[in-house]
């Protein structure tokens, strides 16, 4: 039937996604107002190259690409874990309202509501608060079933409204400064937030991989998972905490970038083998999608710049619809 064994299929999916990420990164470093040829990129990365190229790559493009790859990977990994734990493809952090709540808290710190805490910490607090609230409102079913999703939708809507209220009540300059937070953009990221995200992603990815075998059994019914030795409550709690950490820290960098957490795991699942929870593939797909989307946002209407969140929404929606209407698809149940 197939020429590849299951293991080979997974490995080749990861390899393909890694190559796609590399291609997106290379294109992002090369293209823009100042075009830098690939060999010049290598020169700059090796410590040489001319001064203009050095400035463009090191100061402008590389930090931005790095931030894009890290946020994309974090959003996608969080999405993949939450989908698995909730056994529902719609249960991504963006839909559960975690993104919006994290944004509301981060905006509160940026527009100066008197709370002088770094956006990362604020976003994380918001993400944790939203998740705890959604979990509490979901009642006995926990993360299972639609109560969790509907509670999350409500929380997300409220948090979005709170963000708008805050922005409408502050001076226009402060509102402008906080605007990227509302659409998702890589333009106004903070260096500290990126560093914190890098550390958070390393921890989150390690935890996700450690939880991998247990997460895999969550694709079956609870009794089957328990029968295979999975500690359900512990696995769910740790996975949820991991998703909150990743989402909160990613929002602190780029704001609520939609669709990445929903689509990257779908793509990873479609490429990988049945019955696997594609953690690594999701992270790679998310990073590649985010970097490519930001590149499109920079180039499409240059010199005007589209926020990356707009591009992911525009590019992502048709893909989502295609997955839905595609017959005999196993990538959306």
């Amino acid at each position: 039937m197939t020429l590849l064994t299951a293991r080979q299929r997974n490995a080749s999916a990861n390899l393909g996604l890694a190559l796609a990420l590399m291609a997106a990164v290379t294109a992002s470093l090369a293209l823009g107002t100042v075009a830098v040829p690939p060999e010049a990129i290598l020169d700059v990365l090796a410590g040489g190259g001319d001064t203009i190229h050095q400035f463009v790559i090191r100061e402008l493009r590389l930090p931005r690409v790095l931030a894009g790859a890290l946020t994309g990977a974090a959003f996608a990994l969080a999405g993949c874990m939450m989908q698995t734990v909730a056994r529902n493809r719609l249960a991504t952090p963006g839909i559960i309202g975690i993104d919006n709540a994290a944004t509301a808290f981060a905006v509160a710190s940026v527009v100066g509501t008197g709370i002088a805490v770094a956006p990362s910490a604020m976003a994380l607090t918001g993400a944790a608060a939203a998740t705890a609230l959604a979990f509490g409102l979901a009642g006995a079913n926990g993360t299972r079933g639609y109560r969790f999703i509907i509670a999350g939708l409500g929380i997300g809507a409220i948090a979005g409204a709170v963000t708008q209220v805050m922005l409408s009540r502050v001076a226009i300059d402060a509102a402008n400064a906080a605007f990227p937070w509302t659409v998702g953009s890589l333009n106004a990221r903070s260096e500290t937030a990126v560093q914190v995200l890098a550390i958070g992603l390393a921890i989150g990815y390690g935890l996700a991989i450690a939880l991998g075998p247990a997460l895999t059994t969550l694709q079956f019914s609870d009794p089957v998972a328990i029968n295979l030795g999975t500690r359900l409550k512990r696995t769910r709690a740790l996975s949820l905490a991991c998703a909150v950490l990743l989402t909160g820290l990613a929002v602190a960098v780029a704001g609520p970038v939609g669709m990445v957490a929903l689509l990257a795991p779908e793509l990873a699942r479609a490429l990988g083998r049945a019955g696997k929870v594609p953690l690594t593939a999701s992270a790679l797909a998310g990073a590649a999608f985010m970097v490519a989307a930001d590149l499109v946002g920079r180039l499409a209407l240059a010199p005007l710049e589209l926020p990356v969140g707009l591009v992911t929404a525009i590019a992502g929606s048709p893909y989502l619809i295609w997955i839905l209407v595609k017959p005999s698809s196993r990538s959306l149940s």
Partner: protein
């Protein structure tokens, strides 16, 4: 192959199981005979599936305890329990596209350490499980392309790969036609001959009598009778269980009880 002496002992002591504060099983004591096939029978809603789930630590007790080898099953590491006891629940849906081999591989998970690779031993066990369930030609077929009987055999093969001395099955033949039922029961009997202790919830009383050597008859969460089917099954027990009248005769071929002349109690 395990023998009856080394088989882990599974028992319930004062076990109370509740659904949302309503007790389904109330203070039940039970010791499962090692190395035998036990069938739990009773009318709908008598708590037989709940009891099986309680014994398999899926349903946490509201009181009392399930003891595995003398220790509370809930205080033992779940993976260790998963190497002694396998449960085949009724709701066994699988991710779409999963193949027979993929499914059986999951049975090895309790035996694998952190980041431990698939070993030659695991491969041998996988192939034995495929052969035992007569599934070798279907090894690479997705589960959703199989017949109900084949799919159920694949799930049993997963339990076989788990290599547990105890096997708990919740209505393993429900929704299967006669041929597939026999297929699955024969496989279960074969596993019992190899030394496994089997406990199954069975809907059909006559099949339970034919394939089990120990019968537990329940109503309303309590045990009405237990013992060898031929010894405990009579008209009055059947009336107590199902509220019907009948005559019990002996199956000339298997020597087990068969119900005839069934009629509604006046």
């Amino acid at each position: 192959m395990t023998n009856a002496d080394s088989t882990p002992k599974l028992e319930a002591r004062g076990l109370t199981l509740a659904h949302r504060h309503t007790p389904v099983i109330d203070q039940l004591d039970l010791t499962l005979p090692p190395g035998q096939v036990t069938a739990i029978v009773g009318p709908n809603g008598c708590g037989k599936s709940t009891l099986l789930n309680g014994l398999a630590r899926v349903h946490a007790p509201a009181g009392g305890a399930v003891l595995l080898d003398g220790g509370d099953i809930h205080s033992q590491p779940s993976r260790e329990v998963a190497r002694k006891l396998a449960l085949l629940p009724q709701d066994n849906s699988a991710p779409e596209g999963l193949t027979v081999t993929d499914l059986i591989r999951f049975g090895r998970q309790p035996h694998q350490g952190w980041l431990q690779r698939w070993t030659n031993d695991d491969q041998t066990v996988l192939e034995q499980a495929l052969a035992a369930a007569d599934l070798a030609p279907l090894a690479d077929r997705p589960l959703d392309t199989l017949s109900g009987g084949q799919r159920q055999r694949a799930w049993i093969a997963m339990s076989i790969a788990q290599q547990t001395p105890l096997l708990l099955l919740d209505e393993p033949t429900s929704a299967l036609d006669l041929g597939h039922q026999i297929e699955v029961f024969e496989l279960i009997r074969q596993l019992a001959r190899q030394g496994k202790t089997v406990v199954m919830v069975v809907h059909d009383l006559v099949s339970a009598c034919r394939y089990a050597n120990h019968l537990i008859a329940m109503t309303d969460g309590t045990i009405q009778a237990q013992g060898a089917p031929g010894e405990i099954l009579d008209r009055s027990l059947i009336h107590r269980l199902y509220g019907v009248h009948c005559d019990v005769i002996q199956d000339p071929a298997s020597g087990t009880p068969v119900l005839v002349n069934l009629r509604k109690a006046p």
